[in-house]
Amino acid sequence: MSNDALIVGGGLQGCAIALFLARAGWRVTVVEKNLAGRHASGVNAGGLRSLMRDVREYPLSLRAMDMWANLADVVGAAAAESCEVRLGTAQIALAMDAAELQWCEARSRSMCRRDIHSEKLIAPDALHRLLPGLSGAALGGLISRRDGHANPANAARAFRKAAEATGVRILEQCKVHDLAPKPSGGWRAETDAGAIEAEWVLNCAGAWGSALAARLGETLPIKVTALSMMVTARVQPFITPVVIGIDQPLSFKQSAVGSLVIGGGILGKPCLEGDTSFTVMDRMASSAAATVAAFPVLAGVPVVRTWTGLEGATPDGIPFIGPSLSHPGLWHVFGFCGHGFQLAPAVGEAVARSLVSGTLDPRLTPFAVDRLQPQTPRKEEALP
C-alpha cells in the first residue's frame, strides 16, 4: 500500500499532523523508533501558555488555545477528558527584581502595540492575592489569564489514539534505516517494518530531526537538550496559576492531586544515541533555589521524583516548520525548543491544511526552514 504521507516521529506533533491529514482523507503512516510520545511530548510540563511566547508564534498559539478549549472536537470526548485540560488558571511571569520588572513593562508595551492583549502587567497586591506564600520580594509580573495546563503524557496518547481511530497506521519500535526520493517522485523508506512508500515525508523527529535532515543533505541545526522536571510530595492545594520565571529558572504549578511540578527549563544530560537522558541534580539545585526564593514556605516540601525527556532547540528559539528547499515532497517539523506542547493542535491543523491545499498556511511563514541560512536573494526577488 502506498501512502500519501509518511511521518517520521510519533510525538505529539507527528500524531497531530497525522490526525488532520487523515481527516482530510490522506493515507498516513507514522513510524516511531521508540514508543509514541515517549520523549519530549510525554514528559514536558504540559503548559498551555501563550504568556511570554515569541511573537512569531502568537497566531498559531492563539489558534491552538481555541483548539485546546474545544479538545473534544479534535480527539473525541473521552480522550479529551483524559488530557486534564485546565484553561483559565492563568500563567504568571514573576518579576523578582527591578530588571525583570522593567522587562515586563517593555514587553507589555510591545504587545499592546501589536494589538495582542492576552498578557497584562499585574500589580503586586493582585499578585500576592493570586499567589499565597509568594515572597515579599516579588515586585509584579505579567499575567495571561486564559493560560493553563494539561497532562502531557495523556495528551500525547490522546492524539495518537485519535490519529489511529481516523485510520492512521502507527508503527512503534520501527526505525527508518534508509530514506530516499524515488526517481518517479515520492519517497521510499526502508524501515524495521519493511519498505514504506509515500508521496510526502514529514520529518517530525524532534531531537533527532536534525540528524534525519542531515541524512538528506540538509543542515538544520538544533541543540539536543534534556528537559528536566521534578515533582514534590502532595501538599494542600494553595495555588492555581502556573508560575514562571523571567531570568530565573522558575516554573511550577500545582497538580490536581496537590503535588508541585517544577521545571524551569533546567536541562539534564542528553544521550541521543542511547535514546535517553539523565537528570543532573547539580543543576536542579538552581531550579529549587529559584522556587524557594519565590515561595519560601515550600522549603520543607520534598522532591520525590525527577524525569527528563529529549528535545531539540533551534538557534533562534522557534521551530522549523515548512517544506524542504532541496527535496520536493519533504517537510520538516521539529525543533520546538521546549515549548511545542501548546502549539501542537494548531501545528497539526496548519501543516495538514498546507499539504492538502498545496498552499502554505501564512501562520507558518515565520518558521521557514531556511530562515537561518545566509540570505541569498531568491530568483524572483533578484529580478530588477
Binding site: D54, P249, I266, G274, A285, P302, V303, V304, T306, C337
Partner: protein, 499 residues
C-alpha cells in the same frame, strides 16, 4: 570526577557489613566516611543495641528475649565507635549514587554530594514484598517491622497474633516473642516438610550450626505449645478498617482465625535501589523472585549495558546482604573481604597481613548454609502471583488486575506500565512493586526474559526537601554549569519592522 575527593572510601550503611568494612579500612589508615540512615550504628539486626544496653536494667527482659545473637553485635559496635579515622554520619539518607564515586546525601535540612575513590554499598536487605489479599490493611505487618518496634520502640505486640510466611526470621521472631510472654495463635508456614528433605542434599558441614540454631528455635516453640502448621497457602487478611481475621488453607482445608495482628514474612532480598540508580548491572533470580547485583567475589560491581551519566571506571563495591543474603556473620565476613580488596587496590597493607585470604575463607564458610536455607524456605507468600483484586502498588493503589489489563493492552515493559498507571511512582519509588510487576509481565509474555532491571531510576531515590536541594553543597562545578533553555523572547523584538 574532577574535584578533590572528600574521603578515600564512602560506605553506605552502618550494619554489620558496613561497620566491619569501615573498621578494617580505617585501621589501615584510610579516611572513611560512613553514611547511615539510622540514628545509631547496628543496621537492622543490631538496631538500637547501644541504647538498649545503656537503658539496663530496664531493658534486661528485652535484651534477654532478643537473645545472644543481638548482644553479639556489641563487640563490633564498640570497635566501630573506637576506631579512629571513621567519620560516622548517622541520620543521613543517600538519595543519589553515581558510578564515579559521587554520593548524594541528606541530613536534616542539609544536602550535598560527597566523593570518594571507592564507594562501598552496605545498604542491606529488605523483606520480600508479597502482595496477598488484604496485605495493606492496618494490623498487617512484616516480621522486620515487629522487630523494629521491639528493638527501637521497646513495644510488645498485643492481642491475637498470627505469624505467616516462611524463612528463619519467622522462627527467630516467634522465639523472641515467646520469651517476652507473647504467644502467637498460630505460626502458619508456607514451606513444607518436603522442602527440608530436598534441602538436606544441599547441606554442607559448615552449614550445620545454622541448622542446629533453627532446630533449637523449633524445639523451644514446640515445648512452649505454640501451634505451627506447614504448607499453608491462600493467605488473606480480612477486616473493615483494621484486620479482623486471617484466612488460609491448611492441609486442603480453608480456615479462618480471628486476628488483631498478622505478621508476615517471606524471606529477605538484597536492597538494589542504590545499585540500580547508579547504573550497575543487576540479574534476575527466578528461584528467588528478585534482582541481585552482579559483582565479583570481593564485591566489585559492574555497569549495566547502555548509556551512563558518568564516564570512567565503576568505583562501587557491594557488600553484605545488599550483595548476597547471608545474615550478620556473612555480612561481617564479606565487609572485611571487600575492605581487603580495596586496600589491595590502593596498595595499602592491611592492618593484619594475609587478611585477604582469610576473609575469603570466612565468606565461604559464612555462606555455607545458604543453599540449604534457600531450598528449605523458598518464597511462599509470593510464590504465586496475586489475583486481580489484590493491590500490588500500595503507594498508588494499583491492583494486579489493572496491571494485567495494561499489559494485555500492549504495555510490555516496566516503564511503560508505570507511565500508564503510575505504578511505582509513589513514595517508595517502586521498591515494593517492581518485582511483582516484572513477574506479571513475564506471566503475560512467557517467551520473553524477565526484565533485567526494575523501573528506570532517577534521583532523588528518597524524598529530598526543596530547601535542602536549593542549598546543596559539593556540587560538581562542571555538571553544575546550569544549562537552560534560552527561550526568553526579547521584550520588544522586531517592533520597528512590523508596527
Amino acid at each position: 570526577m574532577s574535584i578533590v575527593p572528600d574521603a578515600d572510601i564512602i560506605i553506605v550503611g552502618a550494619g554489620p557489613a558496613g561497620m566491619a568494612c569501615a573498621i578494617d579500612l580505617a585501621a589501615a589508615g584510610c579516611r572513611v566516611i560512613v553514611l547511615d540512615m539510622q540514628p545509631s550504628p547496628g543496621g537492622q539486626i543490631f538496631r538500637a543495641l547501644e541504647a538498649n544496653m545503656q537503658a539496663r536494667p530496664g531493658t534486661d527482659e528485652l535484651l534477654s528475649a532478643l537473645g545472644p545473637s543481638y548482644k553479639a553485635g556489641l563487640a563490633l559496635l564498640t570497635r566501630f565507635r573506637a576506631t579512629p579515622g571513621i567519620d560516622y554520619r548517622p541520620g543521613t539518607t543517600v538519595w543519589d549514587l553515581r558510578a564515579d564515586g559521587t554520593v548524594g546525601w541528606l541530613k536534616g535540612d542539609a544536602a550535598g554530594y560527597l566523593r570518594a575513590t571507592h564507594v562501598v554499598l552496605a545498604n542491606g536487605a529488605m523483606e520480600r514484598p508479597a502482595p496477598f489479599p488484604g496485605w495493606t490493611l492496618p494490623g498487617v505487618m512484616t516480621a522486620g517491622a515487629v522487630q523494629t518496634l521491639l528493638k527501637a520502640g521497646r513495644l510488645k505486640p498485643k492481642g491475637r497474633i498470627v505469624l505467616a510466611g516462611t524463612g528463619p526470621l519467622i522462627f527467630l521472631l516467634a522465639d523472641q516473642l515467646r520469651r517476652l510472654g507473647v504467644r502467637p495463635a498460630l505460626i502458619a508456614r508456607t514451606d513444607r516438610a518436603r522442602d527440608k528433605v530436598a534441602a538436606l542434599r544441599r547441606l554442607r558441614p559448615a552449614g550445620l550450626p545454622a541448622l542446629l540454631k533453627g532446630l533449637g528455635w523449633l524445639l523451644r516453640l514446640r515445648l512452649a505449645g505454640v501451634a505451627m502448621r506447614t504448607g499453608i497457602s491462600g493467605l488473606e487478611a480480612h477486616g473493615r478498617s483494621h484486620i479482623e481475621s486471617a484466612r488460609l488453607t491448611v492441609a486442603g482445608k480453608r480456615i479462618e482465625l480471628p486476628c488483631d495482628l498478622l505478621v508476615v514474612h517471606d524471606g529477605i532480598v538484597p536492597s538494589t535501589d542504590l545499585a540500580h540508580a547508579a547504573g550497575l548491572a543487576l540479574a534476575w533470580r527466578d528461584d528467588d523472585a528478585s534482582w541481585q547485583p552482579v559483582t565479583t567475589r570481593d564485591g566489585q560491581a559492574e555497569m549495566a549495558p547502555g548509556p551512563a551519566l558518568t564516564a570512567g571506571p565503576c568505583r562501587i563495591r557491594i557488600t553484605g546482604d545488599a550483595r548476597r543474603i547471608g545474615g550478620a556473620d556473612a555480612a561481617i565476613a564479606h565487609g572485611r573481604h571487600a575492605a581487603g580488596a580495596i586496600l589491595a587496590e590502593l596498595s595499602r597493607p592491611a592492618a593484619t597481613p594475609g587478611a585477604a585470604d582469610r576473609t575469603g575463607v570466612d565468606v565461604e564458610r559464612s555462606l555455607a548454609a545458604r543453599p540449604f536455607l534457600d531450598a528449605a524456605f523458598p518464597p511462599g507468600l509470593a510464590a504465586n502471583l496475586p489475583d486481580d483484586a489484590t493491590i500490588v502498588c500500595r503507594c498508588e493503589e494499583i491492583t494486579a488486575g489493572a496491571l494485567r489489563a495494561a499489559i494485555r493492552d500492549g504495555a510490555r515493559e516496566m516503564n511503560l506500565v508505570r507511565g500508564l498507571l503510575r505504578c511505582g511512582m509513589g513514595a517508595c519509588q517502586g521498591r515494593s512493586c517492581a518485582a511483582t510487576l516484572a513477574r506479571l509481565l513475564a506471566e503475560a509474555n512467557p517467551d520473553r526474559p524477565v526484565s533485567p532491571a526494575p523501573f528506570r531510576a532517577r534521583p532523588p531515590l528518597r524524598p529530598l526537601p526543596l530547601g535542602a536541594l536549593a542549598g546543596m553543597i559539593g556540587l560538581d562545578p562542571d555538571l553544575a554549569q546550569v544549562e537552560s533553555l534560552d527561550d526568553k523572547p526579547e521584550a520588544s523584538a522586531g517592533d520597528d519592522a512590523h508596527v
